[in-house]
C-alpha cells in the first residue's frame, strides 16, 4: 500500500493538504508577509521567515520542469513500469513532484499540464498531471 509508506509522516502540518486532495482541491500555502507561494506545507516562510502562513487553493495548472520514465520500480511500484514521474512548476510558482500520465510522446519539458485527482487507493488521492493538448 502506497499510503502506508508515508502515513507516519502525516500530521497537523500536512493533513490539510492531504484532506484537500480528497475533496479534489490542491492546497498550497502563501506567506502573509512576502506573498510568495510555499510548497510543501510548513510553519515558517522559507523566503522571509514569517510565521504568517495561509492556505491557498492552487488552480491546478503548470508546466513540466523535468521528468523521467522509470523502468526499474521498487516496492509497491514494481508492477507499474514504465511510468513517468515529473516535477511540475505550478502557475503559482512552486514546484511539486507528481506522476505525469497520458501519451508518452506528448510528455516534454516545458509542456503545459493540468491536474488530475487520482484515487490510487481507497481514501487516498494523489495529484497527477496530464499534458494539455
Amino acid at each position: 500500500m502506497i499510503k502506508d509508506l508515508i502515513k507516519s509522516g502525516i500530521d497537523d502540518e500536512s493533513r490539510p493538504y492531504w484532506n484537500g486532495l480528497k475533496d479534489k482541491k490542491l492546497f498550497i500555502q502563501q506567506c502573509g508577509d512576502c506573498q510568495k507561494s510555499i510548497f510543501y506545507p510548513r510553519s515558517i516562510c522559507p523566503h522571509c521567515f514569517s510565521d504568517n502562513i495561509n492556505w491557498l487553493e492552487a488552480n491546478g495548472t503548470g508546466t513540466i520542469y523535468s521528468f523521467t520514465t522509470v523502468h526499474q520500480g521498487y516496492g509497491p511500484f514494481k508492477g507499474e513500469t514504465p511510468y513517468t514521474v515529473g516535477i511540475v512548476e505550478l502557475d503559482e510558482g512552486v514546484r511539486m513532484m507528481t506522476r505525469i500520465i497520458g501519451d508518452y510522446n506528448e510528455i516534454k519539458v516545458d509542456k503545459r499540464v493540468s491536474i488530475i485527482f487520482k484515487e490510487v487507493e481507497e481514501d487516498f488521492v494523489l495529484p497527477y498531471f496530464q499534458v494539455i493538448t
Binding site: I2, K3, L5, I6, K7, S8, G9, I10, S14, F39, Y40, Y65, S66, F67, T68, T69, V70, H71, Q72, G73, Y74, G75, P76, F77, E80, Y83, V85, G86, I87, R95, M96, M97, T98, R99, K108, V109, D110, V120, L126
Partner: protein, 379 residues
C-alpha cells in the same frame, strides 16, 4: 597567494572491497584504519580526533570509537551523504588550525552489496510529498537532472556515455577495480534503461567496502617518513534535501563549495593536475565539472567528449576507475581522497598521472544535495 600548510593527509587505505560477506561495517573500518595508520607510520594511540559517517548506528562515532578502543578529544559525525568525508577533511584541517588536536582518523564502512541498508531511511516528514510517486532513489532524481540538462543545453546520452567509457579505461589499469572489461559508447547506450535517460552503465556499482584517511598537523606530519599531502583548500555547501526542492536541476552547490576551496588554496583551475570527482552517475560528473567552473554551464557534454578524461587525455579524472567501475558502497567520498593522495605520492603505477602535484577532490551527497570540495597538494 598560496595557503598555509597547516594540515596534511598522511595515511590512506581501503578495506576489502567488492563483496565482503564475512565482514560487518566495524570490521571493514577497523581494517582500513589499521592499514591507514601503518601507511602513515602512526599508531592508534596517536589518534585524538574521530570522524565517521553512516546510518549503521544511532551514534556511529560512539560505537566505532568504542570498538577501536579510542577515546577522542574531538569528534565529528557530520553526515551529508557521499560528500561527508571531504567535509571531514575540511573540518579536521580547521580543528588542527585551531590547535584542538593533532591526528584525526576518518573512516567509512558499508556492506551495501551483501547486506543492503534498510531503504526506508527517507523520513516521511518532508519526503511524504515525493514517496507516493515511486521515483527510485537516488537514480530517479539524477535522471530528472539529466532530462532537464538535455532540454536546456542539448546534452546527449552519447556525451554522458563518454564519462562511463573513460572511467572504465582507468579501471582496466587498477587491479582493485571491480569492473575491468573495456566498454564502448554503444555498450552504455545499449544497456537497459533504469530511469530515462539514464542506462545501467550510467550508474555506479553497488559494493561493499570501507576506507580510512589520517589527517595530521604540520608538526606531526613533518616527523613521518612519507611525504605529506597538504590540505590546501576546502569548501562545502548543501542546497536542498529532496530533489523537487533543488533550486536549479542543472546547477549544484559545487559552485559555492568549489569557489571556496579554490580561494582558500589560492590556485586556479589550470593548476589542477588530476581530478577525483564523485561519479554516482555520469550526469553527476557532468554537472559538477560545470558547477566547479572547469567549463561554462551547458558545456559539460563538449568538455568530456573525445575521451578527454580517459588515460592519456588532457583532463585525467577518476583515475581509480571511479564509483562507476571501481567501487561504490553508497557513500563513495572517502575513496576519492584515497586515490588523490596516492596520485600525489606517485604510488599509482600503470594509472599514475605524470608529475601530479595538485589534485581536486569533489564529493556529492544525497540527490545532488550536498557538495564538498578539497584541494590537495604536495611539496
Amino acid at each position: 597567494m598560496k595557503s598555509e600548510r597547516v594540515a596534511a593527509i598522511v595515511g590512506v587505505a581501503e578495506s576489502d572491497l567488492g563483496k565482503t560477506p564475512g565482514k560487518n561495517v566495524l570490521q571493514l573500518q577497523a581494517q582500513a584504519a589499521k592499514l591507514a595508520l601503518e601507511d602513515a607510520g602512526l599508531t592508534k594511540h596517536d589518534v585524538d580526533a574521530i570522524f565517521t559517517a553512516g546510518n549503521w548506528a544511532w551514534a556511529p562515532n560512539l560505537m566505532l570509537a568504542e570498538y577501536l578502543g579510542i577515546q577522542p578529544k574531538y569528534t565529528d559525525s557530520t553526515n551529508i551523504g557521499g560528500s561527508s568525508f571531504e567535509a571531514h577533511v575540511g573540518h579536521a584541517a580547521a580543528g588542527i588550525k585551531a590547535g584542538l588536536f593533532d591526528v584525526a582518523l576518518i573512516t567509512y564502512g558499508s556492506t551495501n552489496r551483501t547486506k543492503p541498508a534498510n531503504s526506508s531511511f527517507q523520513s516521511p516528514l518532508t519526503a511524504q510529498y515525493e514517496i507516493p510517486y515511486g521515483l527510485p532513489t537516488p537514480v530517479g532524481a539524477y535522471a530528472l537532472a539529466a532530462t532537464r540538462h538535455m532540454h536546456q543545453y542539448g546534452t546527449t546520452s552519447e556525451q554522458l556515455a563518454e564519462i562511463a567509457v573513460a572511467t572504465r579505461k582507468w579501471a582496466t589499469l587498477n587491479e582493485k577495480a571491480y569492473m575491468r572489461e573495456p566498454i564502448e559508447i554503444e555498450d552504455v547506450l545499449n544497456s537497459r534503461l533504469i530511469a530515462e535517460p539514464l542506462h545501467l552503465l550510467d550508474c555506479c556499482l553497488v559494493s561493499d567496502g570501507g576506507g580510512a584517511v589520517i589527517v595530521a598537523s604540520n608538526r606531526v606530519a613533518s616527523t613521518l617518513k612519507k611525504k605529506p599531502v597538504w590540505i590546501l583548500g576546502h569548501g562545502e555547501s548543501h542546497s536542498h534535501n529532496t530533489i523537487t526542492n533543488m533550486p536549479d536541476l542543472t546547477m549544484t552547490s559545487a559552485r559555492e563549495s568549489g569557489k571556496a576551496a579554490f580561494e582558500m588554496a589560492g590556485i586556479s583551475h589550470h593548476e589542477i593536475d588530476v581530478a577525483e570527482i564523485y561519479d554516482s552517475f555520469t550526469i553527476t560528473v557532468l554537472l559538477t565539472l560545470e558547477a566547479l567552473g572547469f567549463c561554462q554551464p551547458g558545456e559539460g557534454g563538449a568538455f568530456v567528449s573525445g575521451q578527454r578524461t580517459a588515460p592519456g587525455g588532457d583532463f585525467p579524472m577518476n583515475t581509480n576507475g571511479g564509483g562507476l567501475s571501481y567501487c561504490h558502497p553508497g557513500m563513495y567520498g572517502i575513496f576519492l581522497l584515497i586515490e588523490a593522495v596516492r596520485q600525489l605520492r606517485g604510488e599509482c603505477n600503470a594509472r599514475q598521472v605524470d608529475d601530479a602535484k595538485i589534485a581536486l577532490v569533489h564529493g556529492t551527497g544525497g540527490v545532488l544535495s550536498s557538495t564538498s570540495t578539497v584541494i590537495l597538494g604536495r611539496d
